[in-house]
């Protein structure tokens, strides 16, 4: 009997310890209501953290300099600690577990669709409440200096036009091409239409580049990525999302036409899938691949690949299009999770610094990203002159277009990638049928996500 009693006492004791340790579930913590804060009465927090995903020697060094300069010059005595918190996906999964808890970082990078997902839990700070503040706000002239499309990208109509982020940099999908090989094939420039693209890719597949450093010859390699899906759909004049109806349009005639075009290229042996991660970059550098499509932020890596490979003349251009080019522009923003007014204010002060012209210039030149302010482009004249491919991609910004910033997009992206791989792998598949099913799936997921707003 006593043995049972002791067992019971032990179990109760342990259970009590466990329950007290666990406390209330994190998601039940009430968020801070910032709407009525008088910022002039708030003292910025002294220690804040910034979770980012930046790696690579140049980017890490630039980030370190930006943070050190901020810490030593800001008049409020704020000390910011920047932490590499993994890739975008890692940060996203970590953040989901921390929403509305005191353990959130003060600043975090995130794509717009990820921020939209976080905000389902009303977990992020609306910067509209501080951006025009007389003491801590951002002067109108500075706001006007942002490239408007970038500036508006972090305003969410889905959430009553709350501003949930600020863009520190952007990049764009561009087509990389080997100019020397094009010349050998008898062309004087990159293709501007899909038909020209077809002609050149097939010619390249049959006629290897004389300066190639490896065996093989291919016109184009498609990397399976939803941003490629968007890019090709945009190139054919379509869109993947209708903002007016809040519905995916993954089965639009333009998307279908684009992938029937690619399906034919694959069937004819003029294009193939990328073999392994960044395999298109190395093949391009070795002179065995004529065209590839990817982010302009990859420019430094392509430069290294070509210089360490076949060392030919190359550049970037808009994707061949059926009308006016329409380029996929993207990039993670920096956002402020809800915490205390003091922490939010300190975070906001850093974001103003991070997006100021001088810092933007430093960051853009070190990272290869585009700056987000018009005045910075003028300051980067020397850099652009020294990096003509950067200038070429910058000049395409006027054709920029964005992917949807809706919750659940990550899940839909995975399915898009499965379907785009299927249709190019199997020329017998009917693209329209596959995309109809895909679109139905996307809108079902979207509806499920938006249900949470009700």
């Amino acid at each position: 009997m006593k043995r049972k009693l002791f067992s019971l006492i032990a179990i109760v004791m342990v259970a009590a310890m466990v329950l007290s340790a666990c406390g209330t579930p994190a998601t039940d913590t009430p968020p801070v209501e910032e709407g009525g804060v008088d910022w002039s009465t708030v003292t910025p927090a002294q220690n804040i953290t910034f979770w980012h995903q930046h790696t690579g020697e140049d980017r890490e060094a630039a980030m370190e300099k930006i943070v050190n300069d901020f810490n030593s010059t800001n008049e409020y005595g704020i000390t910011l600690t920047a932490e590499y918190a993994g890739g975008y996906g890692d940060i996203y999964t970590k953040m989901l577990a921390l929403l509305n808890t005191p353990d959130v970082p003060d600043i975090v990078v995130g794509y717009q669709n990820q921020i939209a997902t976080y905000q389902l839990a009303d977990a992020f700070f609306d910067m509209n409440t501080v951006i025009n503040d007389s003491v801590y706000g951002m002067p109108q002239a500075d706001q006007d200096d942002f490239i408007d499309a970038f500036f508006q990208q972090d305003v969410y109509p889905l959430y009553d036009n709350q501003r949930l982020g600020l863009a520190p940099n952007r990049s764009m999908e561009v087509m990389y091409y080997n100019m020397d090989w094009l010349t050998e094939l008898g062309y004087d420039g990159p293709p501007t239409t899909p038909e020209e693209f077809r002609e050149m890719t097939c010619a390249a597949s049959a006629n290897p580049f004389s300066g190639a450093m490896a065996e093989g010859s291919m016109g184009y390699q498609l990397s399976i990525d939803t941003s490629r899906f968007a890019s090709w759909t945009y190139a054919f004049g379509g869109d993947i999302y209708d903002g007016t109806t809040n519905q995916y349009t993954l089965n639009s005639p333009e998307a279908v036409a684009a992938f029937e075009f690619l399906q034919d290229l694959f069937a004819d042996g003029c294009a193939r899938l990328v073999s392994e991660n960044y395999g298109d970059q190395s093949d391009f550098g070795n002179g065995t691949l004529l065209f590839t499509v990817g982010s302009s932020s990859g420019l430094p890596f392509y430069t290294s690949a070509v210089e360490g490979g076949a060392n030919f003349e190359w550049s970037v251009a808009a994707l061949p299009s059926t009308g006016t080019p329409k380029q996929d522009v993207y990039g993670a923003s920096v956002s402020i999770p809800k915490s205390t007014p003091e922490r939010q204010l300190a975070a906001w002060i850093f974001l103003k610094y991070y997006t100021s012209p001088e810092v933007q210039k430093l960051w853009a030149e070190a990272s290869g990203y585009f700056p987000v302010r018009k005045s910075v482009a003028d300051m980067m004249g020397d850099y652009m002159a020294a990096n003509p491919t950067y200038k070429a991609s910058w000049d395409l910004l006027e054709y920029g277009w964005f992917e949807p910033a809706v919750p659940g997009y990550d899940f839909v992206r995975d399915e898009i990638e499965v379907v785009m791989a299927a249709v190019v792998d199997d020329p017998t598949l009917d693209v329209q049928t596959e995309f109809d099913t895909l679109n139905e799936f996307g809108n079902r997921i979207l509806a499920e996500q938006l249900e949470q707003l009700n």
Partner: protein, 388 residues
């Protein structure tokens, strides 16, 4: 620890004995308390909390209580689940009848065998019917992921155990540089799986010049798509079978090869420890009796290693049902759902679709499946283990 070492005088009365026992109890609980807390906090509490979450329409925020609805999404209807469970129960009953028939010395042994066979067939039919209904009206993605997981487990664990045992036997002999070999075989196990899986991405890449394609090229086989191929391996070999019997895709086989490569070293080391426990005299006696090396391996080594084999098989199956990292790294969109194991599907549903309630329900079902398989394995294999 004895009473003498503790310096405690022998108890003289009943009450002193009780006091001592009480002290022993408290001491015992204090010793197990830290481990118990760790297990409760990091083991049982998450399971309990997952169960709790699975009863709600839980997305990014906690929604309404939905009871068993998230489970119904998996099974379609409770009836489907009951039919499937009835099939499993009949298969278990057939096994019980069969086992009894073998252990019985009565003249009704043959009848018992026939009955067992009949129950097994009926059980199989009932199970397949229930599964079919679930597949029709339940969550096909999750049910398919269970099949993929089963392929993965069946394709890797036996190979890992057999190769591990052979390597251990070879390394146990007096060969030159066996310590270096031991270290080499163990290295894949201690290498971070994400890193080594990235190397396997390159080995099994689409390139015609990839290492895997070069190797099969030596045997006159044309280049394959490996991680990008969702067609079953048997189909590629010219066997025209579809459905479950068609087996795993070539993409999944590529991932299995990684699994085998990675875990064989661990099995080898554990087998080596097991071999060290076999008395040398047993081999000497067998040698005097004229037994060959093969006979000694078959009749001495294998039976005396059976506890180790049992342990590794059990741990192996549990591990494969929970496998995640390397499959996540090696999967490709081209392989579609042919490489999506249950762990991956649950992860995607949780983090990408934000369907926390649905994902945790699936995790609980997977947990029950693993538990059931472990118990079945324990019953089937445990009785055949020879402890000397």
């Amino acid at each position: 620890m004895t009473e003498a070492t503790l310096g405690v005088k022998p108890p003289k009365t009943g009450s002193t004995l009780h006091t001592l026992r009480t002290k022993e109890q408290i001491t015992g609980y204090l010793f197990v308390l830290p481990a118990l807390i760790v297990i409760l906090v990091f083991g049982l509490f998450p399971i309990g909390y997952s169960l709790y979450m699975s009863l709600f329409n839980w997305r990014v925020t906690k929604g309404a209580y939905v009871g068993g609805r998230n489970y119904l999404l998996i099974f379609g209807t409770w009836t489907n689940l009951l039919i499937t469970l009835a099939g499993i129960a009949l298969i278990v009953a057939a096994f019980w009848i069969w086992s009894n028939a073998f252990s019985s010395l009565s003249n009704r042994k043959t009848i018992a065998k026939v009955v067992a066979a009949a129950v097994l067939i009926v059980g199989g039919v009932v199970f397949v019917t229930g599964w079919g209904y679930m597949f029709e009206s339940g969550n096909q993605n999750f049910l398919k992921s269970l099949i993929v997981t089963t392929y993965y487990a069946v394709g890797t664990v036996p190979a890992e155990v057999i190769i591990g045992m052979i390597l251990a036997f070879l390394l146990y002999q007096d060969i030159v540089g066996k310590d270096i070999f031991r270290m080499m075989y163990f290295l894949p196990y201690v290498t971070p799986s994400v890193t080594s899986a990235v190397v396997f991405q390159i080995i099994f890449s689409l390139r015609e010049t990839s290492i895997a394609n070069m190797v099969i090229g030596w045997f006159g086989i044309s280049p394959q798509r490996w991680r990008f191929e969702q067609r079953p391996l048997l189909n590629l070999l010219g066997v025209d079978i579809s459905g479950f019997l068609a087996g795993p895709s070539l993409a999944l086989v590529s991932i299995m090869l990684y699994g085998i490569w990675s875990f064989v070293g661990y099995n080898t080391v554990i087998f080596l420890a097991g071999l060290g426990n076999i008395p040398k005299e047993t081999y000497e006696a067998a040698e005097i009796d004229g037994a060959t090396k093969a006979q000694m391996f078959r009749h001495i080594t294998m039976p005396l290693l059976s506890p180790t084999t049992f342990y590794l098989t059990l741990i192996g199956f549990i591990g494969t049902f929970k496998a995640f990292n390397h499959i996540y790294v090696l999967r490709t969109p081209s392989a579609g759902d042919s490489v999506i194991t249950s762990s991956l599907l649950i992860f995607d549903n949780f983090y990408k679709a934000n369907q926390y309630g649905v994902a945790t329900a699936q995790a609980i079902v997977l947990f029950v499946v693993i538990l059931g398989l472990t118990l079945a394995q324990n019953k089937l294999m445990g009785e055949r283990v020879f402890y000397g």
